[in-house]
Symmetry: C2
C-alpha cells in the first residue's frame, strides 16, 4: 500500500518540496527510530502544476517533479503544509490520513485514529521537517537540503516576513551548509526572482495573480499584489497595468482598484490606484497620490498594512 | 498573563500529570531552546477532582494537586491529552489556545493562528512529553519522571493495552531510571491497584464507574467495566453486584445488563450478566453462562472484544 504525501492546492515551493522531503523521511523511518512506521512506500504528489519558482528549485537540485493527483478516494495519505479540508484533494473524507506536518493555524481535518501531527508556529513546513530529521537522527541528503532551504527562503520572503522565527534562520543556516550554498541571501533573491519574471504575463495576469475583493463600508474595493525582487522589472509595464486597472474598475463596478507592487528587497510597496475618490488613499496612508501611484515605505502585507487603514479611511 | 495547562474532563492520571509536566517544560522553554516561547508563567489546572490512582501518584512523588478550573473565558491555555471540544472546559471558544500535546485521534479544535500541536500515535501523552524534553535538551526532574512513568503505566495498563508502542516502553525505562524506580512492573501494579480499591464503593458505584448504554438491534444493553489487579479483590462482592444488576435491569428496562470484571494481570474478563436471553451470550462468546457468569480469556477491551460480538449475536 503506497502512502501519498501531498501539499495544499495551488502548490507553492514549500508544499511541493515538503511533500518530496517528508516522503523521503517516512521511507527512512521504516528502517529505524521512526516516530511512525508506514507499511508501503511513501511517494510525493502535488495538486497542480508547480509555479516557475518551484520548477527552478527542482531543476537546480536535480529532483524530479512529483506526479499530479486530484482524487484521493480509498488512498492512504500524509499531508504537508495544510490541515484544512478546503485546501485538500477531492474525497479527502474517503482517504486514510496517517500523518500531518504543518506550520499554519490548526484546520478542520479530524481523524478516527491517533496519527502523527506535528505543527510548529514557524515560517515554513521545511523548518518543521528539519526538526523531524534531527529528532530522529536521519541525515539530510544534499539535494533535499537545497529544496528545504529554498522553501524557507520562499515562505519567509528571505527572512523578511513577520512569520519568520529563530528556528527558521537556524534551520536555513544548517541546510545551506549541507546543500553547499555559500550566500543564503543571494540564493534567496535568485529563488524569489523566478516569480518576478513578469515579461511573459499579460497586464491582466499580473494584476490577478493574487487579487482579492473587499467590501469597505458598502464600497467595492479590489486589491492585487505582486512581490518582486526589483521594481525595475515592472517599470516599463506600469502604463499598461494602469489601463487594465481602469478597465477592471469599469467592468466590475469598483469604487477603487489597486495593485501593490511590493519590492521585497527594499521592503516597501508602490501602490497603483484607480479610484472614484483619491482622498480616501490620502486619508489611509497619510500621503498624496502622484498621478495614480504612491510609495509606501515598509509596507509588505496587504492583510496587515493595506486593508485595515483603507477600511478605516472608508468608514470615517 | 498566565498560561493555564489543562487536560480533559473526568481527569485520569495522564491528563493530570501531563498538565503538571508540560507546565514545567513551557516555563523552562522561556530560558532557552524552546519550541515556543510563552510570555507569562505556565500553571497546571484540572477539570475535576483527581481519582484515587492519581492522588496516590501525586502524593508518592510529593507533587501538589493542581487547582480546579471550570471556565476558561478570556484565558490563555494549552491542552494536554485531548483535542476535542466535547472534552474541553467551558468557553473554550473564548480562550486563546497556544499549544496542544496529545496522543489521541485528531479532534475538532481549530485555531485562528499557528500554534504548537504535537500528537504522536503512542500509548500516553507523557511519552510525547518525554520526547519534547529530549528534543529541546531539558533535563527531567526526578519527581516529574515519576509522574510520567506512572502515567505511561496507567494509560497502557502496564504495557498490556493494544495502544502500547516501543516508544512508550523506551520512555518508561528511561523515566524509571531518573525516578529511581527499580521494578517497573511492580510499580505499575501498585499504581493500578489504587483503582482496584473497591471496598469503600457501593455495588452501584462499582457498576457505574465506567458504564455505557448500547442499542443492539432494538434491544437496550448496558455494559460496565472495572479493571482490577486481582479478581480476588471483588470476590466477596459478586452476589451483591448481581442483585444490583438485576435492580438496574428492572429500573432501566434493559434486555441485558453486564459488568466486565477485568483482571489486568491475568489478562481476561469475568462477565457478570443478567439478561432476558442467555443464548445471546453463548452465541456471542461461544461459551455458556454458569449461573450469571462467564470467564472470557484474553478479553480486555469492551470496545473491541465485547460490543462487536454481542452486536453480531443480537443481529443474527
Amino acid at each position: 500500500m503506497k502512502v501519498y504525501v501531498v501539499g495544499h492546492m495551488n502548490p507553492d515551493t514549500d508544499s511541493v518540496c515538503s511533500a518530496i522531503v517528508f516522503s523521503y523521511l517516512l521511507n527512512k523511518w521504516k528502517e529505524k527510530d521512526g516516530l511512525i512506521k508506514i507499511d508501503g512506500e511513501a511517494v510525493p504528489v502535488i495538486q497542480g502544476e508547480p509555479n516557475p519558482e518551484t520548477k527552478f528549485v527542482l531543476e537546480k537540485f536535480g529532483v524530479e517533479k512529483p506526479e499530479i493527483i486530484e482524487d484521493v478516494e480509498g488512498k492512504t495519505i500524509a499531508l504537508v503544509d495544510f490541515s484544512e479540508k478546503a485546501q485538500a484533494p477531492k474525497n479527502i473524507e474517503k482517504a486514510e490520513i496517517i500523518a500531518i506536518v504543518d506550520h499554519h493555524k490548526i484546520g478542520d481535518i479530524t481523524t478516527p485514529n491517533p496519527i502523527l501531527f506535528v505543527n510548529l508556529p514557524v515560517g515554513c513546513t521545511a523548518t518543521v521537517l528539519k526538526k523531524l530529521f534531527d529528532w530522529s537522527g536521519v541525515e539530510i541528503p544534499k539535494e533535499l537540503a537545497g529544496l528545504m532551504l529554498a522553501s524557507i527562503l520562499s515562505d519567509t520572503v528571505i527572512f523578511k516576513s513577520a512569520t519568520t522565527t529563530e528556528l527558521d534562520k537556524e534551520a536555513a543556516k544548517e541546510l545551506a551548509k549541507i546543500a553547499g550554498i555559500e550566500n543564503i541571501e543571494e540564493f534567496g533573491i535568485e529563488v524569489k526572482a523566478k516569480l518576478s519574471a513578469v515579461d511573459e504575463l499579460s497586464a491582466r495576469d499580473i494584476i490577478l495573480r493574487d487579487f482579492k475583493d473587499f467590501d469597505m463600508s458598502g464600497n467595492k474595493v479590489g486589491i492585487g499584489q505582486i512581490e518582486l525582487v526589483d521594481l525595475k522589472l515592472i517599470e516599463g509595464r506600469k502604463e499598461e497595468i494602469l489601463e487594465e486597472l481602469k478597465k477592471m474598475k469599469e467592468e466590475g463596478g469598483y469604487h477603487t482598484v489597486a495593485l501593490m507592487l511590493t519590492d521585497i528587497i527594499k521592503e516597501g510597496t508602490e501602490l497603483l490606484v484607480v479610484t472614484d475618490d483619491a482622498s480616501v488613499i490620502e486619508k489611509a496612508f497619510g500621503k498624496k497620490l502622484e498621478g495614480n501611484s504612491v510609495w509606501l515605505e515598509g509596507v509588505m502585507s496587504r492583510k496587515k498594512q493595506v486593508v485595515p487603514p483603507l477600511e478605516n479611511a472608508f468608514s470615517s
